[in-house]
Subunit: 174 residues, 2 copies
């Protein structure tokens, strides 16, 4: 049976969407696959897992940042241009056929902000090399995208420490 | 503010419970924390992320296996003894104060099988060093355990490829 690339979506308002995607990148790299991660929204790769992944697999896992940080108080046009540049990079990486797994972290927000349409994203998913696994993360994944995907998981917050006044902690929350 | 260890539970019938826990281990290691992972149920560390984690962080991430594999057609007493040995190891590792993060992967099944009680698990959580972060994964986490935890996420399967006749694939499913 030939390998068939899966489209995987981690959505929902709970924790673990990006963390599970990074865990999957780690799993793939551990099995010798080539991985490209593009992080939308985030402006800096300051998270522990990003540092660890790129340090542990320099030739095997690539990480690109295509964001300007959280978007409040920012010029909308600046945010949009950064996101579109990231999307262009994602297109190139996906169509290059140079990877086994591509992670588009927090891509769903670009649809929410009206920067990309669902049709544009699905069109790229259809165009991609058949063997390529693709992971998309972010809250509120569009319905059509979930219908196109092979595997959709909703991370649902049952309980969150910030609700209890516990602050974010290095190595755990970031 | 002093560091307060969090009790984190990844439960639900969807994907990503263990993968997110491994992603968190990666994040913690990337920030210089010391990690111990004990996998219940699983008999062999053949998953890509386990290989990758231990190879990438030999002195920083420890992985122990305390299972006999999936339990059908196995002697119940053999399963129970392996699980209890794993639990004893978990107690020692947790109480040693030698780690910043301990992952008890698939621990919830031991409660489901009646091998451990909720009270025994919560008692160890209370005894643990204050700074220690603890992650517990597995389906159907006990209610009292979820009440004790700081962060609970339910991974809910919205769509799964096995439903569509796609087989498990190396680097993605294992």
């Amino acid at each position: 049976m030939a390998t068939q690339g899966l489209v995987i979506i981690n959505t929902g308002h709970g924790k673990g969407k990006t963390t599970a995607a990074f865990g999957l990148a780690l799993r793939a790299a551990g099995q010798g696959l080539k991985v490209c991660i593009i992080q939308f929204i985030k402006a800096q790769a300051k998270t522990g897992e990003a540092q660890a992944l790129t340090a542990a697999f320099p030739g095997q896992i690539e990480l690109h940042l295509a964001g300007t940080g959280f978007t409040w108080q920012q010029d909308k046009e600046v945010v949009k241009q950064a996101a579109l540049a990231g999307w262009q990079l994602a297109r190139e990486k996906i169509l290059s056929d140079g990877y086994d797994l591509v992670v588009l972290d927090e891509l769903t927000y670009l649809l929410g902000f009206g920067i990309l349409t669902e049709a544009e994203v699905i069109s790229l998913l259809r165009e991609r090399p058949k063997r390529l696994h693709l992971v998309i993360t972010g809250r509120d994944a569009a319905q059509g995208l979930m219908e196109y995907a092979d595997l959709v998981t909703e991370m649902r917050a049952v309980k969150h420490p910030f609700q209890q006044g516990i602050t974010a902690q290095k190595g755990i929350e970031f």
